[in-house]
Symmetry: C2
Subunit: 656 residues, 2 copies
């Protein structure tokens, strides 16, 4: 077991090696920008899917929707560049809000970000698998299992630690940018040369879901398409959460990486959208609505927009088609990986501030926040399974959380600049005014989008997020309250602890064997004021045998038998101990429980079952100590030696 | 929780009330004979399904196959009547084999019987649901969940205890016998009167799976049909396992019930088969092989044979049709219930003889063997889920186990009579010869059928049983060996126990709060030779705070800090304790672990996580006691009061 863990996760890291794992820009870009860049693979597709509700009639509006998204993207990138410089400690949106808006908004942002991270994993992996299936259609029936396997792999990689996963993923990201960039350039060149690329779906017609789209319905559909296009913005904030992982000067490097990312995202998203219109790509939420779809629409799916474009430009059999698909799939997995960097950091921060369970703050082997990584992976797997890996279904849950944190962090930044203004003079004052303007525009725009998203996506699944964020908020408040109350309860006071006046030792006995004798000896070694052997009369015959053996061995400790009319030991033993406590309320009762220690897991099923419940219940009695007296069975020995041999770093460390 | 348990399971029974739960014949018949009688609902159908492989050509052979099954049934009933008289203690096949053939064959029978009980539940519930779905076709898509819900209900009913479930089920069994009997009589009368009933499927044709059926293939198919028909025999042995539950004279009453059951089973099975041929019932393993099947053969199923007959005789809209279906469904659920009586008794017997884990012998509330009931239910649910509730698939796994125990028990009975012969004289000797002949014929016949079943069903799923029985056998041998070795290891010897020379108390400390102070006080109350407070330096800042607090409170116990370069407490603490043990190998180390006791389950997630692993590891160190010092948080108080209030029988029992 330990050996497997070592092979998979590598050697554990010492605390003092944290500083070594800093990232240069060329490695940080693929790690932190992959989320935003990978959105390009599905953003255009989601815009087209919404417009398709009106059949072919509205598809020509796609470029205008895309333009609105690009403007928004530019504003949000500019806003977050300021966050990176103002708060280089890596708290990102959460820290901005905590510092400027106070506790309750910060918990809302934390909840929104947690939802966001989970959705990043689920959507990115589902979309990645869609792109794999577009290249290898025979995998279509297995896509949900494929997605789950990918998440399990990501969990394992991330339990190894940050840097190695970064390096492993750097090359494919650049491959994706190059391959998709080439597709766009070649496709536009073909268009300029007069023989534009034609998508495989160009000849298909879409059966409209809704035929009469005029007036309010038209505006609503357009807004909905815009909301879907806003998925292109997901992941923009990732860099602001990762600043401490950058090489020095951290803020400068992170800010530059953010701008590079923004330019690349705008180029790729615009290019894909333009090319989709040129190549006449047709998509529908349900392939059965596509008139002309060649295979059984129940058991096969459509190719992704990226796949259709690469196919149209290079041909569906060409090597370059497969390169584009591999790049798309890999950058999406890398995007999922972003969340595996961000979520555990955020959870650890919240756990440290006692809003989440303490064990999310414990650093595991390889310096990774193991518990957070595993938790994130499991929730994402559950979502993939629940929505059968459908990107379009999952994406409805994605954008709302993203824009909640966008809006709150921009409002926080406006407050930050207001604060900075006090005491500033002249040129500095004008500079701050400029900064504030950018964030104010960002706040207004993202708040507007938030309202639009809420209105247009609510019934399509976003309501789940509207439930999840307050629930998470409530849980965090509850945990915080609990820890605070416990802390207050445990605060030492003067004259608090009184030494118990007498110690009563009670040894639990079922049969007379070595563990019983050892428990009696150990109890006696602690020199109690009274010592009793206690047994419950579950079976009259067994009890008589025990009494006889007790006499035969001449054991001096008195054997007390309590009746057990309901054939269980818990209640009579608890009653007996309560009577001792009542007789001397300041006395201490030590209950010695002989216990078998076995070496193989299944042997635990064969022992110690009846005392488990008793030990659990005894914890509720004040003034009672439970002393487990382990008896190591022979089978446990190899286990002990095993563990000592494979213990992490034992030989390196000596015994200090 | 306790309240819910009480409402569902009733009050717990005292040990001395076991004798009250004896059953009169009219109640015992529905409980123990339902298994055999219910087989009638699917035995004919399974014969027809196999013959259908050859299309319509072979269906006329069904009565001959049924005749062979009826002969076998009569012989087996006669054989088991002798088992009931010879071994009235209720061990059934298992006891016969244990007494006459020794340990290894008896374990094979035990394994076969366990498989048999599990399959009884799975097959009966699946067939019961099929009959429900035949009456209410709209439930077809939910049949697997329906089956699982039924098993959960059976678990709950059986946890309440034997007699109540018997009474609850008595009426429906008689209803089934009456309703199906009436169907047969009315149907045959209609036939005699010249206008025979016509099944809804009479006009359909069957697409044969195998067209050329001649020579060896023909014989093989006929034997396979016979094997399938032998499902009519499943459950015949149930009464021999239930003798102690009968009213006195137990053996006589049980023997009479067995004969009544045999006559009823032969009448119903012959009648159903005859009527199926008359009404021209058509069935196929896959409804898509039925030419003429009216609905989508992928998403709907065929009606059961019983349902088709009741429909043909009374009409598919008639009240009587629904009565027959309700009776069939209910007797099948009652058959499943038989296993819930038999399995826990067998498991308890095996656990008492240390072939299964001890907790299967513990009698729970209401005198039922709760663990066995739950185990049986869970395995049956797993099988239903794995085979998607298909009776035909499950039945392949059923017959093999049944005939293994039939054969071995008949061989055992022959040996029993051989033994009885020694010393017998005259008339008695002739009587024994007669008894032996019956069992010998039974042994030869069932052994032949066992070989036929093995040959014809192996590749259709019976191979799973061929694997399962040896695996269970191996597990039982392993458990027995383990218990024997442990017992030998724990046998007290002279001069075995030496009183430890010195006691070292080590109190684990993370922060300085009330639980720590209490642990120190309790440790001191036990007057150890040395007393140390131990902390692991996971975080330098926290450790400094602890040191300062330690001084500020003026605590006299020395605080020992061990380094923890890998940010975990287990390894450094274990190392420290090992050093104490090395310095004084005869010394005792008591490790005091402060522990929080909380009232709500989720609070456990927020505490005690880091010490769990340490406590687990400490058990492997000899000469180390783990003393848990519970600190009852305020939230735990209401829990304690709750438990005391709802405790079973507390008020009735006083505090004795």
């Amino acid at each position: 077991m330990n050996l497997v863990k070592r092979l998979l996760l590598g050697r554990p890291l010492r605390s003092d090696r944290v500083a070594e794992t800093l990232l240069p820009k060329r490695i940080a870009l693929p790690i932190f920008a992959s989320d935003a860049l990978s959105s390009v693979t599905y953003a255009t597709q989601e815009v087209l899917l919404v417009l398709s509700i009106g059949g072919l009639a509205l598809l020509h509006l796609a470029p205008w929707v895309a333009l609105a998204v690009v403007v928004l993207l530019a504003v949000v990138v500019a806003s977050y560049r300021q966050v990176v410089h103002a708060y280089p400690s890596g708290g990102g949106s959460y820290e901005v809000v905590v510092r400027n808006l106070g506790r309750n908004p910060s918990l809302v942002v934390a909840a929104a970000l947690m939802v966001d991270y989970v959705m990043t994993v689920a959507v990115s992996v589902a979309a990645g698998v869609d792109n794999i299936v577009s290249a290898l259609p025979q995998l279509y029936p297995h896509r949900v299992w494929l997605a789950i396997a990918v998440i399990v792999l990501l969990i394992a990689l991330n339990l190894r630690g940050a840097r190695e996963s970064g390096r492993a993923f750097a090359v494919p990201t650049y491959l994706f940018i190059a391959a998709l960039g080439l597709t766009i350039v070649v496709g536009l060149t073909q268009f300029a040369a007069g023989h534009p690329p034609v998508a495989e779906s160009a000849g298909w017609t879409i059966r409209p879901e809704q035929v009469d789209i005029t007036g309010v319905a038209f505006v609503f559909l357009l807004l909905r398409a815009f909301s879907s296009g806003c998925t292109a913005l997901t992941g923009v904030e990732a860099i602001s959460n990762g600043v401490p992982a950058f090489q020095r000067p951290k803020a400068v490097n992170a800010g530059r990486t953010l701008v590079i990312m923004g330019v690349l995202a705008i180029f790729l998203f615009s290019g894909v959208t333009a090319l989709s219109v040129i190549a006449q790509v047709r998509v529908a939420a349900n392939p059965c609505d596509l008139i002309g779809f060649p295979t059984d629409c129940h058991s096969t799916g459509q190719r992704t927009v990226i796949a259709q474009l690469a196919g149209a430009v290079f041909g569906l059999d060409s090597a370059l088609f497969f390169v584009v698909q591999a790049g798309a799939a890999l950058i999406l997995l890398l995007a999922a990986n972003t969340a595996f960097n961000g979520f555990p950091t955020l959870a650890s921060l919240l756990a440290q501030r006692r809003y989440l369970p303490r064990q999310l703050h414990t650093r595991g082997d390889r310096l990774a926040h193991s518990n957070g990584i595993i938790l994130l992976g499991l929730v994402a797997i559950a979502l993939i399974a629940a929505f059968e890996g459908s990107v379009t279904a999952l994406i409805q849950l994605y954008i709302l959380g993203v824009f909640t944190s966008f809006t709150l962090s921009q409002i926080g930044m406006v407050r930050h600049w207001n604060h900075e203004l006090t005491g500033a003079r002249g040129a500095q004052r004008r500079r701050i005014h400029g900064h504030r303007l950018i964030n104010a525009v960002g706040a207004v725009l993202t708040a507007t989008v938030l309202v639009v998203v809420l209105a247009t996506k609510f019934t399509h699944g976003a309501y789940l997020v509207v439930i999840a964020i307050p629930v998470l908020y409530g849980i965090m408040r509850g945990i915080h309250r609990h820890y605070r109350e416990v802390r207050r309860e445990l605060e030492p006071e003067r004259g608090d602890v009184v030494l118990p006046s007498r110690v009563h030792a009670v040894v639990l006995v079922s049969t007379l064997h070595k563990p019983t004798l050892r428990a009696l000896a150990f109890a006696r070694a602690n020199r109690p004021d009274t010592l009793t052997a206690l047994t419950a009369n579950v079976d009259e015959g067994d009890t008589q045998v025990l009494r006889r053996e007790w006499e035969r061995h001449g054991i001096e400790v008195p054997l007390k038998v309590v009746e057990s009319p309901y054939r269980e030991i818990t209640r009579p033993v608890i009653d007996y101990i309560k009577r001792i406590r009542r007789a001397g309320p300041r006395d201490l009762v030590c209950v010695y429980v002989p216990e078998y220690v076995v070496g193989r897991w299944w042997e635990n099923l064969l022992h110690n079952q009846s005392s488990l419940r008793l030990v659990w219940r005894l914890r509720f009695e004040p003034g009672v100590l439970v002393v487990s007296v382990p008896w190591q069975l022979v089978s446990s020995h190899h286990q002990r030696i095993d563990r000592a041999d494979h213990a992490p770093g034992r030989t390196r460390r000596g015994l200090g």
